[in-house]
Amino acid sequence: MPDQTTDVALIDQVLAGNQSAFAELVERYKKYVFTVALNFVKSREDAEEISQDCFVKTYRSLATFQRQSKFSTWLYGIVYHTSMTFLRKKKMDKVSIDDEETFIQLESKESDFRADKAEKKSRNEYVQQAMKMLLPDDAMILTLFYQGEQSLEEIATATGFEANTVKVKLHRARQRLRDKLELLLKGEVKDLIH
């Protein structure tokens, strides 16, 4: 993850009028932001729209970044809230963000995974596939914790949850990921460790 000082230096440059410095920030975080957004909406087009919207919002409110947290934490907070708003606007909450069945069905339509395919997949590919089957909150927490390298407190700051709640959610997300892996491998989870 990028150095905090360098992020702040780039922000100072943007505030001084150097717009191109913002392009560097975008390059630095675009994958993280896009991945988190994709965890929510499961559609690359929607995720791209949300991600771009997030960066524009970040640019507009850059002067209000108080530097009490890492820039990445602040940015992920914007991504989380923007994604949630997007989902509500698309009325996906009618289906319920907590509706596991629906997300499994949605994933089944989009997934290229075929249980009858003989091809060998690496462990990472199975985990990636299982991540796509998770609910938005679960996938988001795992992405922020592992790939975003955010601590539980930082995730709590970004999402507005209590730190203890984040810990419980992380544990549940891991458990659900394991359940999805078992589903994918039809009981062959043990093969992952060999």
Binding site: A47, Y59, S61, H171
Partner: protein, 174 residues
């Protein structure tokens, strides 16, 4: 039951999955760590579960991020080119100013309260209470138009700063 045995009991009541994840994350207490390490040596099912969790943990740590389109950054820069440059907040509220204003009001209130307490004749009870402020000719101090004007400006500035501070906090959390 000793405190330690109560603690151990509470640890053991947690599901083994939760205990293992705490162990892997390095969040276990010293007692938990010892208990888990003992289990790993003696219980093959726990050991297997631990290995499974480690594998998942590693895969998650090294899983690849998704890549947006090639035009992603360009699209964003085109959008922000139409935006005004965000300006650094030179008038950012210094918390010391807020503390000084608060301190002034607290001090004034404290002086008034202490003064009023010294005016009370405690021996005569409530009926004997009378509050006599010293006869100060305030016009000597605040009669001047300049002083009045300065006070008005001070109050307006204080209120404006407070409002800006609240607005910044709201934006920061939004």
């Amino acid at each position: 039951m000793t405190k330690q045995s109560v603690r151990i009991k509470k640890i053991e009541m947690k599901p083994i999955e939760e205990r293992l994840w705490d162990y892997i994350d390095g969040n276990s207490s010293a007692e938990e760590k010892i208990a888990i390490e003992q289990l790993l040596q003696t219980d093959s099912s726990v050991k297997q579960l631990h290995e499974e969790f480690l594998a998942i943990n590693t895969s998650l740590k090294f899983s690849e991020l998704e890549e947006p389109s090639l035009r992603f950054t360009k699209n964003i820069m085109e959008q922000i080119a139409l935006e005004p440059t965000p300006k650094a907040l030179h008038t950012k509220v210094d918390k010391r100013i807020i503390n000084v204003i608060a301190g002034f009001f607290i001090l004034t209130l404290s002086v008034l309260i202490i003064f009023s307490l010294t005016q009370i004749n405690w021996n005569q009870g409530f009926d004997g209470f009378s509050f006599n402020l010293p006869n100060i000719d305030w016009n000597n101090y605040f009669g001047s138009a300049y002083v009045q004007g300065a006070l008005i400006l001070f109050v307006i500035a204080g209120l404006a700063l407070l409002d800006r501070y609240r607005h910044l906090r709201k934006m920061g959390h939004g």
